[in-house]
């Protein structure tokens, strides 16, 4: 059965992915961080000691599952294609930029939608920035932006990232080499097997449906096409029902304990960066993992950029803090974006504009 030939079936793929996210939240992932690519890559980078933020260090099996799920399903359905050669270092930079923007907002587009479904109004504010970012990327596309074509390459090149994530899984299960948070978000996680299987299912459905948060908005702006949007809508509806049914739906801005802040301008600008850079890189953080799983070495380089970006965010003090209750005084401590993060976010916007309007399609005429 073809799972992707109608909007209804695509929405169904979104529903399945939503159910996976809901299960992971139920079994222990942090509140409304059920499934966040940026957070989980950041946690995995922390597990390897790439940064020293002790509360966010854990090799998330979801990331491993996503890459392997996309890899296995693409090989099984003959969609695996090893490609490379489309401006890899620019993609590396875009990966870093995406991660910096995501950690200024505190979440990737997937988590933004999950936060929206939990009533977090900050995420709805950030959506404005995300849409504007994607729209700016679309404008660049219309002006002839291109990172050049990718070429078919040795199939082994595409095996590298799936092999690396298998290595991470072995290290996390069989050794005590990797760091693991004892407190904070990194210590909150679903059991390994559930997280891994959840990632595999999510990865497989995301690969078949071509799920992409940036792509969905891009297609709506560019072609009034709602195919990809229907996948996201399916995921949103499931998470909304789950959050309401389990009492996790809290409408408001300064909600403590959900790892979010109410710095509106920087929520908007953080997601503006993510939306803009994601269109330039050809997909949101989730899509980059899926593309890498189905053989794109260019996307794998973007993923590597995201790992380095995540480490930089914590090593240089760029990442925002979430609103929380002071455990002793019970006072609300507002989350905020540090000055370094604001400067980095502005630099990222400038970098996006430079990349967008200097890389042009070459006329072959």
């Amino acid at each position: 059965m073809n799972l992707s030939d109608s909007k209804k079936k695509l929405a169904l793929a979104g529903v399945v992915c939503g159910l996976v996210a809901a299960c992971l939240a139920y079994f222990g992932n942090p509140a409304n961080m059920a499934f966040c690519i940026a957070c989980f890559i950041r946690d995995t980078a922390g597990a390897f000691g790439m940064h020293q933020a002790e509360v966010v260090q854990y090799a998330r099996p979801e990331i491993i599952g996503l890459v392997l799920g996309a890899f296995i399903i693409s090989v099984a359905t003959k969609e695996y294609r090893s490609t490379a050669g489309s401006s890899p270092m620019i993609r590396f930079i875009l990966g870093m930029v995406i991660m910096i923007g995501a950690l200024v907002f505190l979440g990737c587009p997937l988590r933004m939608v999950i936060r929206m479904s939990a009533g977090d109004l900050n995420a709805w504010v950030a959506l404005i920035g995300f849409v504007l970012g994607v729209a700016t990327g679309v404008l660049a596309l219309k002006k002839g932006f291109s990172l050049g074509r990718a070429y078919v390459t040795n199939k082994e090149s595409g095996y590298v990232l799936p092999a690396i994530v298998v290595g991470i899984l072995i290290l996390s299960l069989a050794t005590s080499l990797l760091k693991e948070s004892q407190t904070g978000p990194g210590s909150m996680h679903a059991p390994v097997i559930i997280a891994l299987v959840g990632g595999l299912i999510f990865g497989a459905f995301a690969q078949k449906s071509r799920m992409c948060f940036a792509g969905s908005i891009r297609d709506v702006i560019l072609m009034k096409n709602f195919d990809l949007f229907s996948v996201i809508a399916g995921l949103f509806v499931v998470m909304l029902i789950f959050n309401i049914a389990t009492g996790r739906f809290v409408l408001g801005f300064n909600t403590p304990g959900i790892i979010a802040h109410s710095d509106h301008l920087w929520n908007i600008l953080g997601m503006y960066v993510v939306g803009f850079a994601a269109v330039l890189a050809g997909g949101c953080p989730l899509r980059q993992l899926i593309l890498a799983g189905q053989g794109s070495s260019d996307a794998a380089v973007t993923v590597a950029g995201m790992f380095v970006g995540a480490a930089l965010c914590h090593n240089l003090g760029l990442a925002a803090s979430g609103t929380a209750l002071n455990p002793e005084t019970k006072e609300l401590v507002a989350g905020a974006v540090p000055l370094n993060g604001k400067v980095a976010c502005v630099i990222c916007i400038v970098v996006c504009f430079i990349i967008a309007f200097t890389n042009k399609r070459k006329e072959t005429k």
């Binding site: 073809n2 992707s4 030939d5 109608s6 693409s74 969609e79 294609r81 489309s86 596309l141 219309k142 002839g144 932006f145 291109s146 990172l147 050049g148 074509r149 990718a150 690969q207 078949k208 071509r210 992409c212 792509g215 297609d219 560019l222 072609m223 096409n225 195919d227 990809l228 050809g282 997909g283 899509r287 189905q294 042009k360 399609r361 006329e363 072959t364 005429k365």
Partner: protein, 78 residues
């Protein structure tokens, strides 16, 4: 829901080529429209040009003239 028909679908190496195609087609009044690449053709998330089968020669000639290179030309239900 709109009934699916057998159409000519031109795919490209880059999104920029697809955008250039749209621009050139509009300027030269060549028929067709831009669509997301149908999922049965490619696992990418790029754009493709969709037109009627009988417009194939006109489209191919225009692409040759303007230097827009296709990745492939498919006939599929869209």
């Amino acid at each position: 829901m709109r009934k699916k028909e057998l159409k000519l679908v031109v795919t490209f190496h880059t999104t920029a080529d697809a955008m250039a195609m749209e621009k050139a087609c509009k300027e030269q009044q060549v028929p067709g429209r831009i669509i997301p690449v149908p999922r049965m053709i490619s696992a990418g998330c790029g754009l493709a040009w969709c037109a009627d089968l009988e417009d194939r020669e006109q489209i191919a000639a225009m692409m040759k003239e303007t230097g827009i290179e296709e990745e492939a030309m498919h006939e599929c239900m869209v």
